[in-house]
């Protein structure tokens, strides 16, 4: 028999992270740094594991190196209409996830930008 469907809609707070989410819309990619110990965070966070909450935002370097990638064929609910390659890119002290455009290999150079919603890495070579 059929069970009762369960629709779950979520509201997620972005308080303290407006800079990140608004930044994506404007083409900016930002991370946080602890002013006390210097730790850098991506995903960004507003509290440092050193105990300090005195953090600053900074722009992530735009040139990165592909560490690994995967093209998703069997897609999850919500992504059926996209074709995409998930990549992890190293930019200095940080590694971040993005969608890669082009023909990546491990070690490819990429230039990072946003498409207004998420981080995109254009494969340079």
């Amino acid at each position: 028999m059929e069970g009762l469907p369960l629709y779950m809609k979520y509201q997620i707070p972005i308080e303290g992270y407006e800079r990140f989410w608004e930044g994506l819309k404007k083409g900016e990619i930002v991370a946080t740094r602890c002013k006390r110990c210097g730790n850098e965070y991506f995903p960004p966070r507003v509290n440092c594991t050193c105990g300090s909450s005195d953090m600053e935002w900074f722009e992530v370097k735009r040139e990165g190196i592909v560490q690994t990638f995967s093209e998703v064929f069997s897609k999850p609910q919500g992504f059926e209409d996209f074709s995409y390659i998930v990549g992890i890119v190293n930019v200095g002290n940080l590694n971040l996830m993005c969608w890669l455009v082009g023909k990546p290999r491990v070690g490819s150079r990429v230039m990072l930008r946003t498409d207004g919603t998420r981080v995109i890495g254009d494969v340079v070579d």
């Binding site: 069970g3 009762l4 997620i12 991506f42 995903p43 560490q67 690994t68 990638f69 995967s70 093209e71 998703v72 064929f73 069997s74 897609k75 999850p76 609910q77 919500g78 992504f79 059926e80 996209f82 995409y84 998930v86 992890i88 940080l94 590694n95 971040l96 996830m97 993005c98 969608w99 290999r105 491990v106 070690g107 919603t117 998420r118 981080v119």
Partner: protein, 386 residues
């Protein structure tokens, strides 16, 4: 308190797409077998720990219904969850209850009905097994994608190939043929794996474990009780556990699971053994690449050389260290809540020389279970002796 903890009874349901039972009847199969195996009745159980991830079934709070159906009302106050390592989390809780002296006989039940939702829903739930907001939400990563990222990096750094990875799947399917409780009992070839459809590149359908329903149950006892009621206890000699970041990107390495290495080292040191002492292991082969990485994380092979064990047949029956001779997650099936306890079921059968056609030959009777939750978000390694 008891300084030693033994496995005294084990049960394992048939794994597969179990449209014929709800979660409670499924758990019953494993619980009844474990009680019969131990020669105990419900009255003997002091405490029950129920492991279930539950999100893919209608019973999202499954512990009460499972406990009630099995006659364990009043004895089942805890449900645990550690993603794909939920069964081992239940086992560790049982172990701790006995070590502390709180209980003498503890039943751990691991159960999941994973096929009550469709595949797209299942992938959306699995994709959340990591960092929701900064990875899944933005990039549509599925659970196979996470291991695909490890596979791609392993291939680039160590020259591991898709054919190499396929060997792990072929081996799993070969052994599942003789396990009547296995989900996928069908022999496959390297070519079949390579030609199966891509799920998340470079992983293909036959690199992935199936979505399974299943249950496993294990009864643990204190040393005093175990010696009284059985002459074939399997002792837990060492427990190791660790965890890792939710976000995959922030780990900085994608060829090895730090949490699994740490869990293994802790378990080895507590048991007073080295990797070369292990004669039999159940390894967490949720994907073909995961079996190769497991060999390396457990110290059976050097970093980057895990595939050589497969190529040389060293992890086959009669090899240096037999692994997953019941078919592994890949072919036996991988009901998340049950898997860790199903590993203990398998090890107990092997250590008692009750494994029939897939019986491994032991000299010292030292075995190990390696159970990973998420993509190394949780890791449990336990060492066993006879």
């Amino acid at each position: 308190m008891s300084s030693k903890v033994a496995v005294i009874g084990v049960g394992n349901s048939k794994f597969g797409k179990r449209d014929d039972v709800s979660i409670r009847e499924l758990s019953w199969e494993a619980v009844q077998e474990s009680l019969n195996d131990a020669g105990l009745t419900l009255q003997d159980i002091d405490l029950t720990i129920i492991g279930s991830t539950a999100y893919r079934g209608v019973e999202i709070y499954p512990a009460p219904v499972v406990a009630e159906y099995n006659g364990l009302v009043g004895k089942a106050p805890i449900r645990v969850e550690a993603a794909c390592a939920t069964g081992s989390a239940a086992a560790l809780n049982a172990y701790m209850a006995i070590r502390s002296g709180l209980a003498k006989i503890v039943l751990a039940i691991g159960v999941d009905k994973m096929t009550e939702v469709g595949t797209a829903t299942s992938l959306a739930i699995g994709g959340r097994g990591g960092n929701y907001q900064y990875e899944f939400h933005l990039y549509g990563t599925t659970f196979p994608t996470y291991y695909a990222l490890y596979a791609r990096r392993h291939m680039a750094l160590y020259g591991t190939t898709e054919e190499d990875m396929a060997l792990a799947s072929v081996k799993a399917h070969k052994y599942a043929l003789s396990n009547e409780k296995a989900h996928l009992r069908k022999s496959i070839s390297v070519d079949d794996v390579l030609k199966s459809r891509v799920i998340s590149s470079p992983l293909k359908l036959l690199d992935c474990s199936p979505i399974s329903d299943g249950a496993a149950a294990v009864i643990f006892a204190s040393e005093e009780v175990a010696k009284k009621i059985t002459d074939a206890p399997v002792w837990i000699k060492g427990v190791g556990y660790s965890s890792d970041t939710s976000s995959l990107a922030s780990r900085g390495e994608w060829t090895s699971l730090r949490s699994a290495r740490e869990a293994a080292n802790n378990a080895y040191s507590m048991a007073g053994i080295v990797p070369a002492d292990v004669e039999y292991a159940t390894v967490h082969d949720c994907f073909s690449i995961a079996e190769i990485i497991a060999y390396e994380d457990l110290g059976f092979a050097e970093r980057g050389k895990g595939v050589s064990l497969l190529r040389e047949g060293q992890t086959e029956k009669g090899g240096k260290v037999g692994t997953n001779l019941f078919g592994g997650l890949k072919a036996k099936g991988h009901p998340l809540g049950a898997t860790g306890l199903s590993m203990i079921y398998e090890i107990t059968k092997q250590m008692r020389d009750e494994a029939g056609s897939v019986q491994h030959q032991f000299k010292k009777y030292i075995a190990l279970s390696h159970n990973v939750g998420g993509t190394g978000h949780y890791a449990y390694v336990f060492v066993y002796s006879r």
